[in-house]
């Protein structure tokens, strides 16, 4: 989101789901959407079925990659190298959209100079992807009538995740593949309302509607409405909070609907820090591992059936959710918990209904102004921005960049010079394998919400290994091995996956109670977004000498 906000001023995907079907080329970069975003992937499959070309860029030949017309299996963390190589090839082949570049963008010359060294040969050497494949992706993407660039955590969960995003945005700017129906940039969101959280200002530097905390005018507007003073500087993001805990600057924390004790990289360290707090409050619907560390647990409500309000999905569509049940026992609607807390702090906020809260938001956030609940209900959801009740904006963002009138075009979208920067932890003789992490179809994050359901596909945690490595190390499918990184060691059963190449191994983080993979991962983070480098660390695999008895023996 930081990358998109930097370039376009708004931190959201630029396209709608339905536009995927209108794209004749779809690039999924660092995204195993087949498993991790199955709903969005249905739209992709529709497009593919209608003849759209699909490219998948991923170190693993993932389930998504197996749908691709071409899979580019780059080395972990060489995304910028690949993107810069593609850019140079597009420029040198004369396929850049010069009219768009001249009218709608800035900083092109510096960008073009920065990618000039990235010949196909160098790109192949750094990324491992054959020059021919890079060339095909470059030419096909540039020449598409409408191309979608989609990505997920394979791009963002790096120490330079924001730069990775900027590298992809550069390609869209270079070819004019943004701001048109079907052509756009689509970061896929991991949770049903993660977009809504950002929309509502649950970001350290934003007020609701992506208005800047440091913008005096915006802040003033909210202060007037709220009869309160808002700190004029940006807050901390999650990683900075943990750093502040480490320094001792942060002593009291309230966690709502998160499970950092299990989802943070280098998990044991995160638990130490949480345990060291003076005061920890957790508001959740489950007694998570984090909640078990808390001084106070506030039982919240299930958003999809126990509360009235809205959610926003990945395509910026705000939708109504309705209450079907009362929360059980002493649990309350989350907003009621917050109102009660505010009252304890001396602020007696009063709303007759949840709709009143929404209408207050509409009065403060221009992009939500046209979304009355009645209209949301009538239209089955509305995409932001929606500035007035009498009209709808296009399903895609940034159409302004194509406007003839420079005033309508507004702020030019800048190219970003991004430098190839390999993962913080290089593989070594001691830790010769590159571990990358990801998700599977039938489990969700740390399993808090999915472990309670049975799935015929769920195999528990495994260490996925290429057939070549398995043979070289003499380890068999299902054999339990030690997996060790510089930070720690876990035991896990081996799964041989021909989608992996020698030297690359894979684990999920769905089963922290059985195998805590984040013992292995590195807590290098991107200073711009706070996201940790879950996608790259170095490990080794050791056979366990003891022979385990087979089941029943």
């Amino acid at each position: 989101m930081v990358g998109l906000a930097t370039v376009f001023g708004a931190g959201g995907g630029t396209s709608s789901y339905q536009e995927a079907a209108a794209a004749d080329v779809i690039v999924m970069w660092g995204s195993n959407a087949r498993n991790a975003h199955p709903i969005f992937f249905h739209h992709v499959m529709k497009a593919v079925n209608n003849g759209s070309k699909l490219f998948v860029v991923d170190p693993r030949r993932s389930e998504t990659a197996q749908f691709a017309d071409r899979w580019l299996g780059l080395h972990v963390g060489t995304d910028i190298a690949l993107s810069n190589t593609i850019a140079r090839e597009i420029i040198h082949a004369g396929l850049a959209h010069t009219a768009f570049v001249e009218r709608a963008t800035s900083n092109f010359d510096a960008y073009a100079a920065s990618v000039e060294d990235w010949t196909l040969e160098r790109g192949e050497q750094v990324t491992g992807v054959p020059a021919d494949a890079i060339r095909q992706l470059a030419h096909t993407y540039a020449q598409a009538d409408a191309a979608q660039m989609c990505w997920t955590l394979g791009i963002t969960e790096h120490h330079n995740g924001v730069d990775n995003v900027l590298a992809l945005i550069n390609l869209a700017l270079l070819t004019g593949q943004v701001g048109r129906y079907g052509a756009g940039l689509s970061p896929l969101r991991g949770q049903n309302n993660v977009q809504g959280g950002g929309d509502m200002g649950a970001l350290p530097n934003k007020l609701p509607g992506f208005q800047d905390v440091v913008d005096d005018l915006a802040r003033k507007k909210f202060e007037t409405a709220w009869h309160a003073t808002i700190p004029a500087e940006n807050g901390w993001h999650l990683t900075e909070m943990f750093e502040a805990m480490e320094r001792g600057d942060l002593k009291s924390v309230m966690v709502i609907g998160e499970n950092p004790a299990q989802s943070e990289a280098d998990g044991p360290h995160a638990v130490d820090l949480l345990e060291g707090l003076d005061h920890l409050v957790v508001q959740d619907i489950f007694l998570t591992k984090t909640a078990q560390l808390a001084d106070v647990v506030l039982p919240g409500s299930t958003s999809w059936c126990e509360s009235e309000g809205t959610v926003t999905n990945s395509e910026r569509r705000v939708q109504r959710v309705r209450k079907a049940l009362n929360p059980p026992g002493n649990a309350r609607q989350d907003i009621q918990i917050l109102l009660a807390l505010a009252a304890e702090f001396g602020h007696h906020w009063h709303y007759e209904t949840n709709e009143d809260i929404w209408d207050e938001l509409r009065s403060l956030s221009p992009m939500h102004a046209g979304m009355s609940w009645a209209r949301l209900e009538e239209l089955g959801g509305i995409q932001w921005p929606c500035f007035s009740e009498d009209r709808l904006e296009p399903s895609y963002l940034h159409g302004r960049l194509w406007a003839d009138d420079p005033t309508d075009r507004g702020r030019l979208a800048p190219f970003s010079v991004v430098i190839d920067d390999p993962p913080v932890e290089a593989v070594s003789d001691e830790f010769p394998l590159r571990l990358t992490t990801g998700r599977r179809l039938d489990s969700y994050n740390t399993g808090v919400q999915s472990a309670g359901y049975r799935s015929p596909n769920r195999r528990g945690e495994t260490i996925d290994v290429s057939p070549e490595d398995a043979e070289r190390m003499g380890i068999a499918d299902g054999e339990i091995v030690y997996v060790t990184s510089p930070r720690g060691s876990v035991e896990a059963p081996v799964l041989i996956d021909p989608g992996l190449r020698p030297g690359l191994v894979f684990m999920t983080f769905h089963f922290p109670d059985e195998i805590d993979v984040n013992v292995l991962t590195i807590d290098a983070t991107d200073p711009k977004s706070g996201t940790a480098e879950f996608k790259a660390c170095a490990v080794r695999i050791d056979k366990i000498a003891t022979q385990y008895a087979a089941a029943g023996q």
């Binding site: 691709a68 071409r70 299996g73 021919d132």
Partner: protein, 587 residues
């Protein structure tokens, strides 16, 4: 896609068979894999691939299904669904030597064995299209090379020997199928027995490819005008005006256009297409080249039934030679070329839309109409589907003019017609006549009834047709006259049954045939053909109240509500036997 396979590799033989059609598998590459559309675009090669495996290995194993699935990017379940649709493919391991013995109407009536009489190692099969040399058998030996033999006039002694592992040392007669061979008045069959079907020079010397040259002078509109003038209608059974079909495709703005020659001759009692292909294959190639020229078709398919190995070889040779001679293919001035697609033992694949699915590599289930094939046919493109006999009329229409064709026959039935005469006649075979001959006249043409035979019934038009009785000898064999009395000429079947034939047994076999060949896609046919067989079985073993009414109800339901002609006609012949011949009249 993310296929789920059992991860076991194919055997060497299986892999070679698959690769012979799909090309060698790409090497494992850990940084770059192409797939997706490029793989799925080969889906139309699924049926040939399954043939290759079945021919070489003898059956289609799970490992070969998995391997084909990964090569085509199609799920193994779907491959299984297609493979198991066809009777010639086995999904279970079996000996490489297979003996298929015809137990259908003509063969069982005249010396053939029934399902229950077959020795171990021999399998019953529906009509093999060799009724004039009944009884017939089809013997296959899987391997490389693969061997397939069709034999006629087989004896129970031979069947037992073959079932024991030996292979027939003779093939069915080719020219014997055409008793009129050499008769100078013949048009459709004029080259049978006179010209070597493997010699393109002999064909050219006999006036071959002159019609194609004239067609090019006439232009597409000119050719279609002649075909319209001729009054030619489809000979596959539905009798749709050929010129109208061609005009509809010619004017379609969507490309490419496809031409399909329906040679999936599986209607029990029909063998005319085989006679035409085996005796005059170049004429079919020329006819298709003309049809493609007139309708602006870019590619042609001949969908040939899988039990015609010699017709396949003959036709393949003719296509290769015609390509070399510059009559089709890239040297012909147009890019029109012809591919043979071999069926695999599914009667339903003679239905024109089922052919599309079969060619495309799907289960051969008929499609709903509309859209009609002239608009949305094979691969979703405008498609002409013509029967072999229909196409074989084209050269003479082009050379002699449509009027000459239209001047023959009756008001409602123009030109010449092939009849497949089998059963209790002295000289069974394919007969070419001008429309208007009577049933009695045709039987006389075939040498009359065998000595000692008394006419009991005649099955007209095949399993989807109906029974005529001894009182119908004066019946004019035209479309309009037969239609008026509730019969049809269908595919030209005239199966003559004498007093030795058990009509009830014939009806039971008919019912079993339809039950077996129903594709199961739509309920009226899937359920109706089973209920029909049960009711006939009960009637055969003694009267049961209401079964005749039940049969009528089932027949009506199938006629009203089935998707395709199979279900719609599954009760026809049985109904005529009951109504016209009084079978089960004691019930």
């Amino acid at each position: 896609m993310d296929l789920k396979t059992r991860s076991a590799p194919p055997t060497d033989d299986e892999q070679r068979a698959v690769d012979s059609v799909l090309g060698a598998a790409p090497e494992r590459n850990v940084h770059d894999v192409s797939g997706g559309h490029a793989y799925r675009a080969k889906r139309h090669l699924l049926l040939p691939t399954l043939h290759a495996v079945n021919d070489r290995v003898g059956w289609i194993s799970e490992t070969s299904i998995d391997y084909i699935a990964t090569r085509l990017d199609v799920s193994p379940a779907e491959i299984y669904g297609v493979a198991s649709f066809y009777a010639l493919f086995s999904m279970k391991q079996r000996p490489s030597h297979q003996v298929h013995v015809c137990v259908d109407l003509a063969c069982r009536a005249y010396g053939g064995m029934t399902e229950h009489e077959l020795p171990a190692g021999a399998h019953p099969t529906p009509c093999l299209g060799l009724c004039e040399q009944a009884p017939a058998a089809f013997v296959t030996d899987a391997g490389s090379p693969n061997r397939q033999t069709v034999a006629g006039h087989v004896t129970p002694v031979e069947v037992r020997a073959w079932a024991g592992g030996t292979t027939p040392d003779r093939e069915a007669e080719r020219v014997a199928t055409v008793p009129q061979a050499g008769d100078p008045s013949l048009v459709l069959l004029k080259r049978a027995g006179r010209i070597d079907p493997l010699d393109i020079d002999a064909y050219i010397a006999d006036g071959g490819f002159l019609a194609l040259a004239k067609a090019r002078q006439l232009g597409p509109e000119g050719v279609i005008a002649e075909v319209n003038d001729s009054g030619l209608v489809g000979r596959g059974g539905a009798a749709f005006p050929t010129g109208r079909k061609w005009e509809a495709v010619r004017t379609q703005p969507i490309f490419p256009h496809y031409l399909i020659c329906n040679a999936d001759e599986s209607e029990p009692g029909t063998f005319k297409d085989r006679a035409l292909i085996e005796n005059d294959p170049f004429a079919l190639v020329e006819s298709m080249a003309i049809a493609a020229f007139a309708t602006n078709c870019q590619h042609g398919y001949i969908y040939l039934r899988g039990e015609y190995p010699r017709a396949h070889a003959t036709l393949q040779h003719a296509i290769t030679e015609s390509r070399r001679g510059g009559y089709i293919g890239s040297n012909s001035g147009s890019d029109f070329d012809i591919t043979i697609v071999k069926g695999a033992g599914a009667y339903i694949c003679g239905e024109e839309t089922a052919i599309f699915n079969s060619i495309e590599g799907y289960r051969g289930e008929p499609r709903n109409k509309p859209p009609f094939p002239v608009e949305v046919g094979v691969f979703g493109k405008p498609t002409v589907v013509n029967n072999v006999e229909t196409l074989m009329n084209i050269p003479s229409i082009v050379l002699d003019g449509g009027q000459a064709h239209a001047s023959l026959g009756s008001h409602g039935s123009k030109g010449r017609r092939l009849f497949c005469v089998s059963g209790a006649v002295k000289v069974p075979g394919v007969y070419e006549v001008v429309y208007g001959i009577t049933l009695g006249g045709l039987i006389e043409l075939a040498g009359g009834l065998r000595d000692g035979s008394e006419l009991q019934a005649v099955l007209l038009g095949g399993a989807a047709g109906g029974f005529a009785g001894p009182g119908d000898l004066d019946l004019e064999l035209t479309m309009e006259v037969t239609r008026n009395v509730g019969l049809s000429l269908g595919s030209g079947v005239v199966k003559v049954l004498d007093q030795t034939v058990d009509l009830v047994d014939q009806l039971q076999r008919l019912a079993a045939f339809f039950r077996d060949e129903s594709c199961g896609q739509c309920v009226p046919c899937r359920v109706g053909t089973v209920r029909q067989e049960e009711a006939i079985s009960r009637l055969a073993s003694g009267a049961r109240d209401g079964d005749l009414d039940l049969l009528r109800d089932i027949g009506q339901a199938m006629k009203d509500a089935s998707i395709c002609g199979l279900g719609q006609t599954a009760y026809n012949a049985i109904e005529t036997a009951i109504v016209r011949l009084g079978v089960f009249s004691n019930a």
